[in-house]
Symmetry: C2
Subunit: 349 residues, 2 copies
């Protein structure tokens, strides 16, 4: 085992290498055609950046299954577990496109102004265009997933995962909105919401390549579970980062979840510890809140042990996810998927 | 050939019979589960009614191909052109669900308050819920289409049609919004917009059963063309009805297209005839317009021959669509599909 910094560099290099390939593929799968304004708006967030973690998971799983490496393979003509080839890059772009669609619509629903340091699509364009851009990405994700060249029976299963994933994301977002107006949310309910809103797309990213390449059902199931565990951990870590990372690095106001009264695993824990969560921040809007007000709120959550609790829960989920990777061949890509899971909860932002 | 009234009754009875079956199937395919508010909102417009023309076209094409009749077959276990059976009702519900999703999002974009005589979903619920309800229907339509039990290769083709149809609907809606701010729109551009916004879903409705049941490519193509022709005619007729049917019957303000500056084939024709279309209605909002103002505008459009021109264009499209039905066996269902095309442009509302 190498030292933590070397490990982190290795996983970050792996992510970067695949991110660049995904970035090259996005305009190939989503060219800007007529009507141009619609397609520009659809591409706006995708072009603004993003870590491409979901497509990277998808590509790494494909590589692990095929015992191949990014350097040696053509993702567009990737060796399946039998004789055929599959365009796993199309599948990778498809899940990123779904992610982008949900961000565009979520930003409208949450009335967020910024995303990835640039204006949200409904701010840069307008409400109508943002709704339509999301809707366009939605169907394009299916069109793209239909073009991997995998045998029809596998394509049907992959589409089934994609469609039910989208439904669950909507259910999760609906619960998230509902929780904002409820005085009590049970931790199980919170975790269910998180699973629906975030983790299912990681689940899909991890299991879709197994489906397309023809892996057995046990492998598909464990990989889905890896994605779910890691996705849950990722969201919990996001909630932690919302409180602990400076606004400039976050690309949005630190502590905005608290200001907006969002329930997270952190606030649930704090409530159980007797913290008056609703009074942690007095400011009524993200624009009005001060850094020192957020500092005080964070100190109180820290004192209640809530930040540690969230970090530990995320760490447990990551361990569970890593265990599931035993279904993969023991190779460098499996190691990277394990490290990626660790990185998701160790990352600074 | 029977007299027009008897013909109309025959086609209306056929539509009604299939509409009832579709209405029964909708709650089976889209049960109200948790989170309930989301699913209630998703079902709201579907439950408010609708003629179910698209699923009726789908079921009639299936019946025509199989030489079967609604009375004699189980749509859930429908005879394919080889030995297998297919749930064509699931496919029928799927296209209606897509239609409902587009209505919910269109009403937000057009800021329409009423739909089918009830409040639009974003009025009855709220913006967030309406966006999410549409998004949920979107993925549910794919989930439902994935469950017809058709062989995987046919399912893939049907999903391909569904996905590209959704993309085209978005493109059409984007053009529609863009046209409202443009001073000149060419008739070809208008027809392209209409085809994308409306006709493609009729095209999908007509060709998907052929794909699922295993018809040959020529049949699939001609049926798609039937849907496109009929869908274009339907939209043109809708534009005519917006001007000629009393508001109570329409379920919304008569002439609202004119008030909102919407370009239609009618206004394009009138403009070419030298009519100052932008000054036809002074009122700035649907709430402010008077019936007599609409009456005067309609009289001017009539004098310019624009209403007749739209009606004739629709009639030509219907004839073209009917010709394409020659690929179907000569049976009662083909006759009903011909009559249905006629009905779409003869209907009062």
């Amino acid at each position: 085992m190498t030292d933590p910094e070397a490990r982190e560099k290795r996983v970050l290099d792996a992510v970067k290498q695949r991110r660049e390939r995904v970035n090259d593929a996005i305009p190939e799968e989503l060219p800007i055609t007529d009507p141009e304004r619609l397609y520009e708006a659809s591409r706006y967030l995708l072009d603004a950046g993003g870590k491409r973690l979901r497509p990277t998971v998808l590509l790494l799983v494909a590589e692990a299954l095929a015992d191949a490496d990014a350097d040696d393979v053509d993702y567009r003509s990737f060796p399946s577990l039998n004789d055929s080839v599959v365009d796993v890059m199309a599948a990778a772009v498809s899940v990123e496109v779904i992610q982008s669609f949900t961000l565009i619509h979520d930003d409208i629903m949450d009335d967020d102004d910024l995303r990835r340091g640039v204006p949200a699509v409904h701010r840069e364009y307008d409400l109508e265009t943002a709704i339509l851009a999301g809707d366009t990405l939605y169907s394009m994700a299916f069109e793209i997933m239909l073009e991997t060249g995998a045998p029809a029976d596998r394509t049907v299963r992959a589409l089934d995962v994609l469609a039910s994933t989208c439904t669950k994301i909507c259910e999760g977002q609906a619960l998230d909105v509902e929780f904002e107006t409820r005085s009590e949310v049970l931790p199980e309910e919170y975790l269910e919401m998180v699973e629906h809103k975030t983790a299912v797309l990681y689940g899909a990213s991890a299991c879709v390549p197994a489906l397309l390449l023809g892996a057995d059902d046990e492998t598909v199931e464990q990989l889905y579970g890896y994605g779910i565990d890691v996705g849950r951990a990722f969201q919990i870590q996001d909630d932690v980062l919302d409180l602990t990372v400076p606004s400039e690095q976050l690309g949005k106001q630190r502590g905005s979840d608290l200001v907006e009264g969002k329930q997270t695993l952190l606030t649930l824990h704090a409530r159980n510890q007797g913290v008056d969560v609703d009074s942690l921040v007095d400011a009524e809007s993200v624009e009005a809140v001060t850094e020192s007000e957020i500092d005080d709120a964070v100190a109180e959550l820290e004192a209640a042990g809530s930040i540690d609790y969230a970090r530990e829960t995320a760490a447990d989920l990551v361990e569970s996810g890593k265990d599931r990777l035993q279904v993969l061949p023991d190779n460098e890509q499996r190691y990277l998927l394990e490290q990626l899971a660790d990185y998701l909860i160790e990352r600074g932002y």
